[in-house]
Symmetry: C2
Subunit: 702 residues, 2 copies
């Protein structure tokens, strides 16, 4: 401990970082400089394991002034020092540190040792070493030998975040950072296929590896029956494989190409607001895009037609608690952002594979375990898509149809978390709406099960393979500035009118608005059509005098099922309410807490909300939870068809009319569609079409 | 009465209709023959008003045998007589009749007078006459004069379905069929613009017109304050217009074209199974498409890879009850299918306006008020769309990504119901899923409100204009045959395990399945993740032994708010539960009853469910309700951005793996996307792309 204290007390001078926008993600040189400054705190021979070197965002009080000046042309922006936030271990120890570096001043401003029971995220280099440690362990080899696997069989090790259960007895303690490895078999009849789906062949041996020593500390045997009895590994029965790679399929041959062509290019503009920061402008929208190790995409300073809407938008965290209560499965509850990182796990997106149309890719620079810059190509794709009809009306008296199509701008990022994938997208449209869409796909986390057995906490998806039920609970952080920084959150409910002289027929109903005055957790209620709105009570709509607002459309979900005393529940501080409302604090970005790995709870949004802060006409933050209770179907294997979940933020009396009224009409001369019926392969040729595309919509007859 | 009784007792011979498939929509000659046969029942000079001449579908017992034979190659299909169902009035009377005609035998099989209190749908010819009757009435002219409208001002009359309120006193009785006309002003500063949005200028005068006599029977004055006081028309204050037509807008000029090009044409095939009936085949899907006056699109005999899934799919009805309890608004509760007809109101869809890509249009033949065939061009468009990523997995060890895109087949129909539009679509994908999507758009139904007033049952959306809150409640009829005609409906719920030696950490949860044994109404419950499934209990999944099933994903909605004793509630028999399950009866197609216009209730799905029929392993019908409580925003005017609601039917242990596993991989050589960054108008050129599209997905690195 003394070392660090001395270290931070010494002013350490270093080369200045280049002048940067306060929101610009760290540059290559800033990352290098950050790790250099941290290393310089320690004796030459001290090995460090860096867990993250990211932008320390300025305090909102400072940054707001900067952005205000930036938006008022001519005003000069105040100077804000660039800072980085560094998390690192003394390698092969549990000595976790977090440091803040002032890059403008070239000094370490703080460097603190954390703990006990505070553990950092995993990193890629570590994961590979843990895999190897598990497979090279003599005890594990002995256990595997008992499976009597076929000659040449290849065993695969998937390290899992160890989780927490409050058990602190010796080998089972979660006070030390550990990994629970689950073992699988590559198809022994095709062992050279490195992309064989090993999740179709789970083994019953689960080594536990210490993150400090990278040694196996324990070997768990997994229960494979209906109860929690375990046994020594028995000879393994090889079942048929279940592959997802195309060469293992009998592919469909009747799908014709569908190309999205933008002959004049895309309608959006991308520019740099800093070396690594991008500004995106599209259809009256303007916002800044950042990218970091933990959250991946972050949107800042979102405006529509020059009016401020959101100060910051990001996926805050997610929790995936599993339903199997048996050791060691009872600890399975991943926090994919906090335990690993949505940025560091982002896929390198490929042209024409992950998006269609005219695509712009954003690349990012993150950092590796050695503190060196890590180039992350194509982590975000930006493109437009057509989402059907935006609005239409036909005057039945004249037969004239007015119609516009629903063009959307998509910023998409895809993350791979070992077996599983999430496709994450911010979507903007021309009606002033912002959507956040999650597509859950990838491969189910599997475990062995004896043949002929079924259990109520999972589904058999392949012979000998169980996929346990699990929940995916996401938390979207919305830091609003609806026409300004001071907002309130209210909810509307629709209630029937009592019968009276005014309502003699019992058909009337009214909408009642309730403001939220104190921070807390709140829930949807479809029986009252409860709708949450973020409002600026000081700005009234010019036509109807209602406060300008954005409403939140979030799909319902089953709240976390683990009981209130369980660690799953304590740790997933966002899992028990659809909506949390808190008063803004600069250090409160992650609804599950800053350090989720093997966390014990008490550090996230539930705890912040419990402060009972005043949130009426304040600088509020809204946390929107959504998700699915994934009861696996056999159709979800070997790879899962996307399950789509979408949250929408929609204007309510914010504009003075439909903001998409000015979208040019949808006409054939612009859209260039074709008649399938005039293609020879069609059996029927039948259609009545206006002779001229450009007026077709005006000729439409009811 | 005697006339009809004699008539139906006489066997009337006529020309044979052409041989047709039992599910084929009526042909031109069958419509002509049907009206001829009906007319021949009556004296020469009897004027008839035809309300609908549609296919009388065969009894399921008969048709099932026919379809079974049709699907077993070589088997000859049994002969089923073609029948039509005819609804008509003796013109200018309330004498409503329904007749069934055996077209194969050329005779009227039944011809019944209906009533009292049974009223038929409106028809187009009638609507126009009612508009005119209201505007030409001397009393109405006198009332309008009191508004002291500007020189040349044009008044527009929107006839509304009269509704029911159980009041049977003289002028206010709804025993007779009537129309409530709402009057509006075309922008007096631009009175020659026939497509001016008159809903921005509502008047306080509301004539009631008799459907029998086409005369004004009453003139209502509308309450325009916060209470229910009404007053004589006062001089009208002209407010600014609020137009939706493009030439009235300052259109955006920065939207670049987006073309969907299918160089090899579409992947679907359309053929005729009868003169007017189509078979659609696409990506292992095969089904028949019919079209009728009331439901519009109907899908029959839906199969996937040769396995039966659905016997019949259609939108059954919708109810739109309004929140304003004041006379005459308290009667506003439209049943757009039963009161008017989704088929007869279908838009003539235009190439490149209503859909993109390679499009096939279906046209239909319906009938008019004279009993003549009515050609309805392009009422359905069929096209494919790309809906992002279908599934993806990246092996983080090798960096290889496997990915497929989510191609969908869309059958879209758009209906205009006076001021409002619904975009209705059946959507199929490659993962064995069927979706029904509704997009609500068009123009709000408006009413006058005094300036400076706000009311809790509506929103002021323009100066002097109120849009009352209202619900849209839809009812989708699902007649399933999941791997056969005998199915059951069950629901799954997820429940926490109690703490025990098996669940010592309180994290376990289980899924419990409950079968529905008796017909009734059922509700969603997100707190238990309640999920309804249609199951074939006699067919087990080969891998996990679970019964094959399809689950229903329906969004929650607030049930009908009008109280149980109200006529809105009595009439909307489907509005009080998410799910109704009934035992199949041939004459039960419409969840609000066969005749919804001014109906009194007791004739729909709630009443059928009350029979407490056995529905466990039976020929069941599932009615899925969904909708929105539309609390108008100013952004919904002058034309509303689409509100999208989607119901999905997804396989659950129906297949033995992800049915989309065999979709060819998504590759650039197939998709032909482009880099926005290489287009000169882009400010930033940045991207890292595999040198070769066709292998790009294999090169993807984590």
């Amino acid at each position: 401990m003394s070392v660090e204290q001395i270290a931070t007390s010494l002013p350490i001078m270093g080369g200045k970082a280049p002048t940067q926008h306060p929101l610009g993600p760290l540059t290559v040189s800033e990352i290098t400089e950050s790790s250099r400054l941290i290393k310089s705190l320690w004796p030459e021979d001290t090995a460090l394991q860096f867990k993250g070197i990211t932008l320390q965002e300025p305090r909102k009080a400072e940054l707001s002034l900067y952005l205000k000046a930036e938006h008022s042309s001519g005003q000069s922006t105040p100077t804000i020092d660039r800072r980085s936030f560094v998390v690192y271990y003394l390698r092969n120890t549990d000595k976790l540190h977090e440091a803040v570096i002032n890059l403008s001043a070239g000094k370490v401003e703080s460097n603190l040792r954390l703990g006990p029971n505070v553990h950092s995220n995993a990193d890629g280099d570590e994961i590979v070493k843990v895999e190897q440690a598990a497979l090279q362990d003599e005890g594990v080899k002995t256990a595997i030998a008992k499976l009597q696997l076929p000659e040449g069989a290849v065993v695969i090790s998937d390290p899992w975040i160890y989780g927490s259960d409050g058990v602190n007895e010796g080998l089972f303690s979660d006070e030390k950072r550990m990994f629970q490895c689950f073992l699988y078999l590559r198809d022994p009849n095709n062992p050279s296929e490195v992309d064989s789906n090993h999740y179709a062949m789970p083994l019953s041996i689960s080594p536990v590896v210490s993150a400090d020593t990278l040694k196996v500390t324990r070997i768990d045997y997994l229960p494979t029956g209906a109860d929690n009895t375990i046994s020594e590994p028995k000879p393994y029965k090889v079942q048929p494989p279940n592959e997802y790679i195309p060469e293992a399929q009998n592919l469909r041959n009747d799908l014709k190409p569908l190309n999205v062509i933008q002959p004049e290019g895309a309608s959006f503009k991308v520019s740099n607001f800093s070396e690594q920061g991008r500004t995106v402008e599209w259809q009256k929208w303007a916002f800044k895009v950042g990218f970091n190790q933990r959250e991946g995409m972050v949107l800042y300073d979102v405006h529509y037609a020059g009016r401020p809407l959101f100060y910051r938008l990001s996926l805050s965290d997610m929790s995936i608690p599993y339903a199997d209560p048996r050791h060691p499965y009872h600890k399975k509850a991943a926090f994919d952002l906090g335990d690993a990182g949505a940025g560091i796990m982002a896929n390198n997106l490929q042209l024409g594979c992950d998006c269609l149309g005219s695509i712009h890719y954003l690349s990012a620079v993150l950092s590796d375990d050695k503190g060196d810059p890590l180039h992350m190509p194509n982590v975000v794709c930006i493109h437009e898509q057509d989402n059907g009809i935006a609005w239409k009306h036909t005057n039945y008296r004249t037969g004239r149809a007015a119609i516009a199509r629903n063009r959307e701008l998509v910023l998409q990022s895809i993350i791979t978390v070992s077996n599983y994938e999430y496709i994450l997208a911010f979507i903007f449209n021309q009606a002033g709406e912002v959507m956040y869409e999650v597509r859950a796909t990838g491969i189910l986390s599997t475990q062995p099960i004896d043949e002929g057995i079924s259990v109520p906490f999972g589904t058999v998806i392949h012979p000998g393979v169980l996929a346990a039920h699990h929940q995916h609970i996401f938390s979207l952080r919305v830091d609003p500035m609806i026409d300004g920084p001071i907002n309130r959150v209210v909810y509307d409910e629709a209630h029937p009118m009592p019968r009276s002289d005014f309502n003699p027929h019992g058909v009337g109903y009214t909408v009642i608005e309730t403001p939220i005055t104190t921070s807390g957790g709140f829930d949807l209620d479809f029986d009252t059509n409860r709708t949450f709105k973020i409002q600026n009570s000081s700005i009234k709509n010019p036509v109807n005098g209602k406060p300008v607002a954005y409403k939140i459309h979030a799909p319902p979900f089953q709240k976390i099922l683990a009981d209130k005393d369980s660690f799953h529940h304590k740790r997933a501080e966002f899992g028990d309410h659809n909506i949390y409302v808190t008063s803004h604090r600069d250090d409160e970005l992650y609804s599950g807490g800053k350090y989720t790995n093997q966390s014990r709870g008490g550090t996230g949004v539930r705890s912040w909300a419990a402060r009972n802060d005043k949130v009426l006409d304040d600088d509020v933050v809204v946390w929107v939870q959504f998700g699915i209770n994934h009861i696996p179907r056999i159709e979800d294997f070997p790879v899962m068809p996307v399950e789509i979940i979408k949250v929408s933020l929609k204007p309510v009396n914010f504009f003075d009319k439909n903001p998409a009224s000015d979208v040019p009409p949808s006409v054939q001369s612009f859209n260039k569609s074709t008649l399938a019926s005039v293609e020879h392969h069609q059996e029927v040729g039948e259609a009545v079409v206006g002779e001229n595309g450009k007026v077709c919509c005006i000729e439409s007859k009811l």
